[in-house]
């Protein structure tokens, strides 16, 4: 019992939040008490009660149900965006770092431009390409910003790995470049990439919420950000809508940040 408690204390709260988030995203739509799009005009903006645990919002929708469905959207968007970003970022970054020269200049230049430019402005400009932005467009827009972090990381690692003896030995033995990259360089990237991706999931969830909040989210889907937008417009009379939806975003993002820090401490002994 004592040992369990000691282990619990060392298990970070952030990881608990992250696990909760993914479990709720998975089962949430099934355990949600109501349909999040069900209109009930008689019970609009009711404070929390036993029938509606977190109260009701715009058109009388049940906020708890909307949050549970929103969790699934946030999970899908964040996992897909981070997945795509990691793949593209790692490919481009290792390539730039290992090959160097012009390739490196071009890729680093684009990365610099994307990273420093206001993310929201870039996202809006991309979403502006389509008449009715849907889930796919949102994912593409977010991935356009997303790959940069992983590319930087991969490039920096590839630059140092290129000079290491075991890579040089492989090169001397005549191992082709793509095999050196896939067998020797990329596996060494896994630790830093996992850390970055964990924090990255939180960043994407926040970005999705922000775009939905600004009214640029995927049309019909239930999103935390869109709910917060509704809540902000009735903030002075019915604060519970904004409090709960914003709280969900904040707690989830905090969870991913804490987990990222915790992983960094564990996986990278240099920082201890």
């Amino acid at each position: 019992m004592k040992r369990v408690r000691a282990r619990l204390r060392r298990t970070p709260i952030g990881l608990g939040i992250v696990i909760c988030f993914f479990v709720l995203a998975l089962v949430g739509p099934w355990i949600a008490p109501y349909d999040p799009l069900m209109i009930d005009l008689l019970h609009e903006y009711e404070p929390p009660s036993w029938t509606h645990l977190l109260g009701t919002g715009d058109n009388g929708i049940d906020i708890l149900s909307a949050l549970l469905h929103g969790a699934r959207l946030a999970a899908i968007v964040s996992v897909v965006v981070v997945g795509v970003s990691v793949v593209f970022g790692t490919l481009l970054g290792t390539w730039a770092g290992y090959v160097g020269r012009l390739t490196d200049h071009v890729i680093t230049g684009i990365a610099d431009l994307v990273q420093a430019f206001p993310a929201i402005v870039l996202n809006i400009a991309i979403l502006a390409l389509v008449a009715r932005p849907g889930l796919m467009h949102l994912i593409v827009a977010l991935a356009v910003n997303g790959w940069v972090l992983y590319a930087r990381l991969a490039r920096a690692e590839a630059l140092t790995l290129r000079e290491r003896e075991f890579v040089e030995a492989a090169r001397a033995l005549g191992v082709p470049t793509h095999q050196i990259l896939s067998r020797h360089v990329v596996p060494n990237l896994l630790g830093p990439l996992v850390i970055q991706a964990t924090t990255g999931l939180g960043v994407v969830i926040l970005a999705e919420s922000t775009l939905s909040f600004l009214g640029l989210g995927p049309g019909k889907a239930v999103s935390w950000g869109a709910l917060l937008d509704q809540g902000t417009s009735v903030l002075l009379r019915f604060p519970h809508v904004a409090l709960f939806s914003g709280g969900a975003i904040a707690v989830t993002v905090l969870g991913f940040n804490l987990t990222g820090d915790w992983l960094r401490d564990r996986l990278d002994p240099r920082l201890r």
């Binding site: 431009l113 990273q115 420093a116 430019f117 206001p118 993310a119 929201i120 402005v121 809006i124 400009a125 991309i126 502006a128 390409l129 389509v130 008449a131 926040l206 919420s209 922000t210 909040f213 600004l214 009214g215 950000g225 917060l228 809540g231 902000t232 903030l235 002075l236 604060p239 904004a242 409090l243 914003g246 709280g247 975003i249 904040a250 993002v253 905090l254 940040n257 804490l258 820090d261």
Partner: protein
């Protein structure tokens, strides 16, 4: 100042300015191409579904949308060069620049206020945390920084309004008269908090590194009191990496002002940009992206040049 400029420095300056100009032209061209690809028809968006074909054709002609893209690009470049940045689709009597000039001061004031909030929190907090690394104050500062990073500004804004506007009634609510400076406090805190958190972490890390160096130990041994030691000897050298991060966060700062202007119903570049986007007012969308690009390029240029002032060693690198 002029006497200090060697030919090498001058060449470096010119090179940096030229590169900044090229970046702006590149960004403008990309924006022009992107915006032309919008599938939604701006003419339909302006006139609505009821408009007849002649009416549409007339507006299309008036807006130059019937000409080939190449000609549109040339006249677009001309509009950019003469400073008008074209004419708004929604308000044919207004040039884009005049619309932006009207709202730009609100955004700039908000951004500067947010920076003031961020720096005035981050530098003392980061310095104290570094001076007391690993102890109570450090833990408090770290917790504040983590919390500040985690609270999204889309939630922080509403929370601040509820706390200081509704419950305490100290500060004006969104939509109240914007004349007073107190209406700026909550928006500035909303934008500045995440920024303060990042800068606190950076200041702490940079200060810890500097404080471990030998010249600090030497100064301490000479009997320099701890406050001047921290402020004069350590902080100045620690500021260089912090400034780099500060400049890299400019994008986040501008993103933050867009969101905050919506929350607090403030006029500004963000509000103009979003309105223009939803109305498919292409010239205004272009103008907003251009002005944001220019701000970003100019600030980065200034920060690059400011390194030379803070640390003479980097002047020519």
């Amino acid at each position: 100042m002029v006497r200090m400029m060697s030919p090498g420095l001058l060449r470096y300056l010119l090179g940096r300015v030229l590169r900044a100009l090229l970046t702006v032209v590149g960004l403008v061209t990309i924006v022009f191409l992107l915006v032309r690809l919008i599938p939604g028809d701006p003419v339909e968006a302006i006139l609505g579904d009821q408009a007849g074909p002649e009416e549409k054709a007339e507006l299309r002609r008036a807006l130059d949308l019937d000409r080939p893209v190449g000609q549109q690009y040339l006249s677009f470049l001309g509009d950019m060069a003469d400073g008008s940045m074209g004419t708004s689709f929604r308000r044919p009597d207004r040039s884009v620049w005049s619309m932006m000039r009207e709202v730009l001061p609100h955004t700039i004031v908000l951004a500067i206020a947010a920076l003031l909030v961020a720096w005035s929190v981050a530098i003392p907090l980061g310095t104290i945390a570094a001076a007391r690394a690993g102890r109570g104050w450090d833990k408090i500062a770290s917790t504040v920084a983590v919390a500040g990073l985690a609270i999204p500004n889309i939630w922080l804004g509403p929370l601040l309004i509820l706390a200081f506007g509704v419950k305490l009634g100290w500060l004006p609510l969104p939509g109240d008269d914007l004349a007073g400076p107190e209406a700026l406090i909550l928006p500035a805190v909303t934008v500045g908090t995440a920024f303060a958190a990042v800068l606190t972490r950076q200041t702490r890390a940079a200060m810890i590194e500097v404080l471990a160096q030998q010249y600090i130990t030497a100064a301490r041994a000479r009997g320099v009191p701890s406050v001047p030691l921290l402020l004069r000897h350590a902080l100045r050298n620690a500021m260089l990496p912090v400034m780099t991060i500060g400049a890299a966060q400019l994008g986040a700062l501008l993103s933050g002002t867009i969101v905050t202007e919506k929350i607090f119903e403030r006029p500004g570049l963000g509000t103009l940009f979003l309105d223009a986007f939803f109305a498919r007012d292409i010239p205004v969308v272009q103008g907003c992206v251009l002005i944001i690009a220019v701000i970003y390029v100019v600030v980065n240029l200034v920060v690059d040049l400011a390194y030379g002032v803070v640390d003479p060693r980097v002047r020519l690198s």
